[in-house]
């Protein structure tokens, strides 16, 4: 027995519960969801046998087969990992094939291919609860006998069967099974199908008459050609409305707590640069972003619900027809939808797309799906545009329109780009797993929400804090002898930068101060809010501040030097349009370069999207101004 820990690979069809099992074995918090293609790369962790021997566990991307001419990158990664061709990962000593017990006919095909590779194998018969509810009569002992490998019935999401599986992973590992289904016929596929069919007749007998279960009944509505779309639009609208309305109470609380904290610091410290740095720079800058935390948490909560319940695949199914109009398939929907949360996992999720051209196009347009980093900017501007306090249905409608505009433009760009790249040499068909509806796994939903919330807070406490301090310095130094805030700002480094930028951004309806805030947001979009908070802050506070956001109040009263209001309806729309289209996220550019295999694509995407954002804002503002708005 070698001293190095043995390597166990978890393999299975998409949505068979591999990542849930991986989390249960390793205690990790790998992302899971009730739809295909959540895992797109090899994840690793450690677990121990009942005798305390350490095992190295690999969670491989879900795949339907192990073809040597693998179409999608995730299938190729799985095959390379199993054959020891993946850099830095040795060939596994044992493969745990995870199958959905309610769908054995399809899932067993992959198990046979693993056995054909000559790898020792254990079958994790997952989701036995779902299979039993559907009336399936499973015989794990018969399955084990026919396949020649250990079979462990389990329910990974309830941690049932984990101990039994660990028992099966004890040394010595089972030997590779004999391949008994390959007859003289050359067609491997036919042999496997025939074997699986006979196996299922013996070990997974279905009831005589198929009954319509809960999933079938719900799908008759949610996949209906008309009602399905009504439900889809209603779900999306409720999502956006909830983000605005439910979040207003905690947002007001955070806002007033930060205001009180700022007042307390003001009262406790004598006037000076440090007090100004703490109140205007740190509390104003970081607090201006932190106040949007409840809305970010709500967005991820709803995305988690949709993923965990199984609705996400239905949405992809519905969208296939729409995606086809953009030259894409339903497979591109999930990466694009993931991009609403963050473009980076969205770009990585394109690995499930077989066609290289379709994958490139999806990567290219993914950043136009409005990500959560844009939300603080939208939440700041929309109520200002509508002259309302936060939390009305009109604001939800505007937010919905913003997301629709980004999405439609992405589809249009995808269609044009797909046309330019030409058709694929091999015609590929869209296949999608429609998992049964399940009760959401609340532990994962809440853990995901907390992780993302923590990531947001950490960003506010690091990058945004640092930039807020630097912005405060730019706004404060060099110092002026004047007491007029306008003159002090004009004399400062920020005022001078703004003066330089102003000719470039003026055609879009912005002054140098807004231009400076936009410039800082290329580090991270949310920084725009803290920059605006720092640039427009004044020392006094009054009663109105308690009822509405301080930043919006400052923006409302901001003027051009000749006294005209700075933020008009047109300049606010122009600002929104700029943020919808501009690619202000360097990490996304880096991931695009890696996933597309070329910096040319990444730099081209950055230049194109920034240029497009500028032109679109210019067009909107100039047209609106000409029409007298």
């Amino acid at each position: 027995m070698s001293e190095n820990p043995s390597i166990i690979a978890l393999l299975g069809n998409p949505n068979s519960g591999k990542s849930t099992l991986f989390n249960a074995l390793t205690g990790k918090n790998q992302r899971v969801g009730n739809y295909a293609g959540v895992t797109v790369e090899v994840k690793s962790g450690e677990t121990y046998t009942p005798h305390g021997k350490k095992l190295h566990v690999l969670d491989l991307p879900g795949c339907y087969s192990l073809r040597t001419d693998a179409g999608s990158p995730d299938e190729q990664i799985a095959l390379d990992a199993l054959t020891g061709k993946l850099d830095g990962i040795a060939k596994p000593d044992l493969v745990v094939c995870v199958v959905d017990a309610s769908n054995l006919e399809r899932h067993l095909q992959l198990v046979l291919q693993v056995i054909e590779l000559g790898l020792p194998c254990v079958l994790a018969l997952n989701m036995v609860d779902v299979a039993e509810k559907s009336g399936l009569r499973l015989d794990p002992a018969k399955l084990s006998e026919e396949l020649g490998i250990p079979v462990v019935p389990m329910q990974a999401n309830a941690s049932k069967g984990i101990i039994e599986l660990k028992q099966a992973l004890r040394h010595p590992f089972p030997h590779a099974s004999e391949v008994s289904w390959l007859t003289q016929t050359d067609n491997l596929e036919t042999n496997r199908r025939a074997f699986v069919a006979s196996l299922c007749e013996l070990a997974a007998r279905r009831p005589d008459s198929q009954q319509r279960n809960f999933t079938d009944r719900l799908d008759s509505i949610l996949l209906h050609p008309f009602l399905g779309w009504v439900a889809f639009l209603a779900i999306m609208f409720i999502l956006f409305w909830s983000i605005f309305s439910f979040a207003s109470i905690p947002m007001d609380f955070i806002d007033s707590a930060l205001g009180s904290f700022g007042e307390w610091v003001n009262a406790m410290m004598p006037e000076g640069d440090l007090r100004s740095l703490l109140v205007d720079g740190v509390i104003g800058g970081v607090g201006g972003v932190l106040v949007f935390l409840p809305q970010i948490l709500l967005l991820f909560f709803f995305i988690g619900l949709l993923e965990s319940s199984g609705y996400m695949s239905r949405a992809a199914f519905l969208m296939d027809h729409v995606m086809a109009k953009a030259g894409l398939s339903g497979k591109a929907f999930l990466p694009l939808f993931s991009s609403y949360a963050c473009a980076i996992p969205g770009v990585m999720a394109t690995r499930t797309i077989d066609s290289a051209k379709e994958r490139l196009v999806t990567i290219f347009v993914a950043p136009w799906m409005s990500c959560s980093a844009r939300l603080p900017v939208y939440f700041l501007i929309i109520p200002l545009l509508l002259h309302e306090n936060e939390g009305t249905w009109k604001q939800a409608l505007v937010l919905f329109c913003i997301y629709t505009l980004g999405t439609l433009t992405a589809f249009l760009a995808a269609r044009i780009l797909r046309g330019k790249l030409g058709p694929d040499k091999i015609v590929r068909h869209f296949m999608l797993e429609l998992p049964p509806y399940r009760r959401p796994q609340w532990s994962y939903v809440f853990r995901h929400v907390l992780d993302r919330g923590w990531a947001f807070v950490r960003k506010a406490g690091t990058i945004i804090l640092g930039l807020s301090i630097l912005l405060w310095a730019l706004k404060t130094y060099p110092k002026s002898d004047s007491t007029d805030p306008g003159e002090v700002l004009a004399h400062s480094a920020m005022g001078r930068i703004g003066e330089l930028i102003e000719p470039v951004v003026k055609p879009l309806g912005f002054d140098g101060r807004t231009g400076t805030a936009i410039l800082t947001s290329f580090a991270a979009r949310e920084v725009f809010v803290s920059s605006i908070a720092i640039i427009f802050s004044v020392e006094e506070t009054d009663d109105d501040v308690k009822n509405r956001s301080l930043i919006r109040a400052k923006m409302q009263t901001a003027t051009w030097p000749d006294g005209r209001p700075l933020f008009t309806s047109m300049s606010l729309i122009s600002l929104l349009v700029f943020f919808i289209y501009a690619l202000q996220c360097l990490p996304t550019t880096a991931v695009v370069a890696r996933e597309s295999g070329s910096w040319k694509w990444a730099v081209g995407q950055f230049a194109f999207m920034s240029g497009f954002a500028y032109l679109a804002s210019w067009l909107i503002f100039q047209t609106g101004s000409l029409l007298g708005f």
Binding site: E41, K43, D273, I344, D451, G466
Partner: protein, 45 residues
């Protein structure tokens, strides 16, 4: 200059040094953006 100005300038200087360090010296994992957005940080590919 009073004491508050010295401390404030010190904080700004430290921030600048940290940003410069992050920009030029800190190597990020090639597998993720390093921003904790859930894109497989610290995972083996």
């Amino acid at each position: 200059m009073e004491w508050q100005s010295y401390i404030a300038l010190g904080i700004v200087a430290i921030t600048l040094v940290i940003f410069a360090f992050r920009l030029f010296f800190k190597k990020k994992s090639k597998k993720s953006c390093g921003h904790g957005c859930g894109c497989a940080a610290n995972e083996k590919q």
